[in-house]
């Protein structure tokens, strides 16, 4: 994990709880974290601003665009609409935690192989959604994938590559 997680943990442990704040303990990308948050804050803001995980992107802040998609206990969520307080005791995976060390996840490799992006801003959300789409059993055909990947907007128009990449990775993930 990037810098930020450890610092935040230390600070939370040392300082007395600020008024109205709450402490959340969760596993983020395989590491235990403990952070002090405003109970109203979104998971996206806590990931980006408190934990220093800026891979998940803020696109609309209203669950419309999918750029902030991450996994909570293996299921995809729009982190901008998820209260950070709800991750207490759960496992969160972001784009930063998807690869196995230097070995890319098959979906990441497929996005490279199929040029499934242009500006790359929506890409972390697309990849996290696509991995979940495969896990859900919804990446079985080029007709089915668009139905289950329609929560993620790509303004650059790389949709053709996204379908190809998802189909390709699904076969390699052995769950398609």
């Amino acid at each position: 994990m990037r810098a930020g997680g450890a610092a935040a943990q230390g600070e939370a442990a040392r300082s007395p709880l600020r008024q109205g704040a709450t402490v959340v303990r969760a596993t983020v990308n395989g590491e235990s974290v403990e952070v002090e948050i405003d109970p109203r804050s979104s998971l996206l803001d806590v990931l980006r601003e408190t934990l220093g995980l800026t891979g998940a992107k803020k696109g609309c802040d209203h669950g419309q665009c999918g750029a902030c998609t991450v996994h909570v206990d293996g299921r995809r969520v729009a982190s901008c609409l998820t209260l950070a307080a709800k991750i207490d005791g759960r496992e969160v995976t972001t784009i930063e935690g998807l690869s196995d060390g230097d070995t890319l996840h098959p979906m990441q490799q497929a996005f490279i192989d199929h040029d499934a992006l242009q500006c790359g801003y929506c890409t972390p959300g697309q990849i996290m959604a696509a991995v979940a789409c495969v896990a859900e059993g919804n990446a079985t055909s080029p007709e089915r994938i668009p139905e289950y990947m329609s929560g993620n907007i790509c303004r650059c128009g790389a949709y053709v590559g996204i379908v190809a990449a998802t189909l390709d990775a699904a076969a390699k993930m052995g769950e398609g």
Partner: protein, 772 residues
Amino acid sequence: MTKLLSRRTFLLTGAALGGTALVAALGGLGYLATVDVDGLGGFVDGDDAVMNAFVTLHDDGRVVVKVPRTEMGQGIHTGLAMLVAEEMDIPFDERISVEHPVELLPVYAHWAQMLGVRPEEPQGPVTWIGRRLISSIPLITTGASASTLNLWHPMRVAGAAARHMLLAAGAARLGVPVAELTTSDAAVHHAASGRSIPYADLARQAAVLAPPDRPALKPRSEWRIIGRSQRRVDIPAKVKGEPVFGIDVVLPDMLHASIRHAPVFGTRVVRIANEAEVRAEPDVLDVAIIEDRSVAVVARSWWQAETAAARLDVEWSASEADAVSSDALDARLADALEGGEPYIHVEDGDVGAALAVDGARVVQATYVAPLVAHACMESMNATVVLRPGGRAEAWVPSQSISLTRWAVFRGMGWAGVDPAEVVSHITMNGGAFGRRTETEVVAEAAFLAARHPGRPVKLLWPREEDIGRAMYRSHARAGLTAVLGADGLPAAWDALVAAQSLMQSIGSRTLPITPSPDGDRLTAEGLEKPYYALPARRVRSVHVPSHVPIGLWRSNGFSFNTFFAESFVDECAAAAETDPVDYRRALLARSPRHLAVIERVAALSGWGAPMAAGRSRGIAMEHCFESIVAVVAEVIVTGDGEVRVPRVFCAVDVGTVVNPDAVVAQMEGGILFGLTTALISRVTLSDGRIEQSNFHDFTMPRLANAPEVVVEIVPSELPPGGAGEPGVAPIAAAVGNAIFAATGTRPRSLPLALAETTGAGRLRTVLAAEAG
């Protein structure tokens, strides 16, 4: 990161190239290839062997190519780095990385656009002089689909010069004449003795040698990289979420800001009714009124800043624009078509005489296009810090490092900042489409940074500001008239467009003198159709001002005028009872390059072959940004008016192709961008305010709505043209023409359909009433 090029180098190259450019502009050379490339001198700086302004070599074999253009998804970092690698004989592999330079060197500037304007042209001497002046401070910008066109020559020369210096260093090391040496695989070889030296081992010696005056470029026959698809240098990091977009910038002690702009453009802040209350919000440090036009809140986190900003109760000044609606603006456009005083862009032949002929077969139609937003996925943002001694630094997802720097000065009130000490970093851009040539967010962040010296301030506009308080593509209304000759082809072509002048709107925000809207070719581009054989032709425009700010928008005037003109060509073909492709073949009889593109797309799409029930085809073409694109759209219109576009075929002649994969991707992306606008995009005004605010009401097509796109590149050895924008231009007309083929009703108003959200984020597009 490498150190800045020395001030000495900057000044010397600035003086030298300024002189060359002046000669080129005054002497009427005006063509990029005639401009000498300066800034080729190298030096050793610590571990870096800086060969010239474009390439730095490292001891470990890494090659850093400086690409002075913004990567916003178009793959320009890859394409331009390929040019250097080609000339240097360096394989295009992981050794090569790309950086956007922070220096503003004249050799990086956007020459083609500046030299392309002549004083005698309609924009007039003011614009020409303005551009001459800014050429003394290099304008480095990414736009007009001109990056490859601009740097095609300089970057190959830079690569060739570096190779020449490496050869000279190799010859000295080996004690043999340069003529006995060859280069390949990033090494110098001496075949006679079987010895080779990698560039990395020669770089330090080579960098201090004098660069050649005019290094020879490789002939086309020896290209190994140019014209062959290469891996995109920016993609591997992007699939890991690693690149730093502007929104991702994190700096020590950084503050965060959010903002509210005037809901009616042009109105001013009268007072903030609850300022004390907002200032008392948790961790809020500042509430600032910026130039009376917006109110920003600065806090320790963006969420806190935005939460507090949402509570702002701002009283705005009253304005005449408070009553303006979209319908009222459209009525103004309609009035201007009837009674305005048009500026004449083109007048060839006697259009009036052709129209006056008794019994002439006249085809006439009026078309409309609405205001649209850019809706980049990354909302507008900028991070600025003011350090002691008037040194400012900015990190911005911007299309222009030059404009970013000026915006920092502007935002800091032109005082307390040393102009020579502003450093700008261009981050990755989450989409741009022309929107990031505008720098108001930079000026706002700089304004806030000046209030908090020593602390970086990151200003991020919430999505609602990005869509509802932004810059827009102009709305437009056009009347087209043709007189058909005995052969059914237009004997006369008359186009009149009413729109808000883009150049005037931009100029009023950025220049001390507001340019005249007369001769703004961005308003009329796309109506002339110079490649069609039209015996008499007239193109005119009427400027209709409004309070809405108009900005550069991917393909600008072509985005609506090509819809108007190519729909109208289809109407003429229908009036002449001729197949739309045959009709264009006849119009292109004397334009073989264009005809070849039409023939390719007709063949690719199976034009003329029977279609499945409920499907139809439409064709359209455009020549813009030095490239020719023709598209055929297949549409399905169902009984209840739902319209879908399952497939689009595209043939494109972009001249010499650098990276074929990137050209195909730009066509795919441009077509989807144009299709979005054709089918469903518009912003509307009520009580002077933009009504749309986020992706629920400014809708985007989803994956389930995206067509299959088949692209074929037509081979060409002409100089490279642009790829970013041409794909956008013809798609709207192609879809409209296909809808006509399906329904017999001619759609003349954009957007063609209304979007209905169904199920989980899917869209259903239903033909607008007037088209159905």
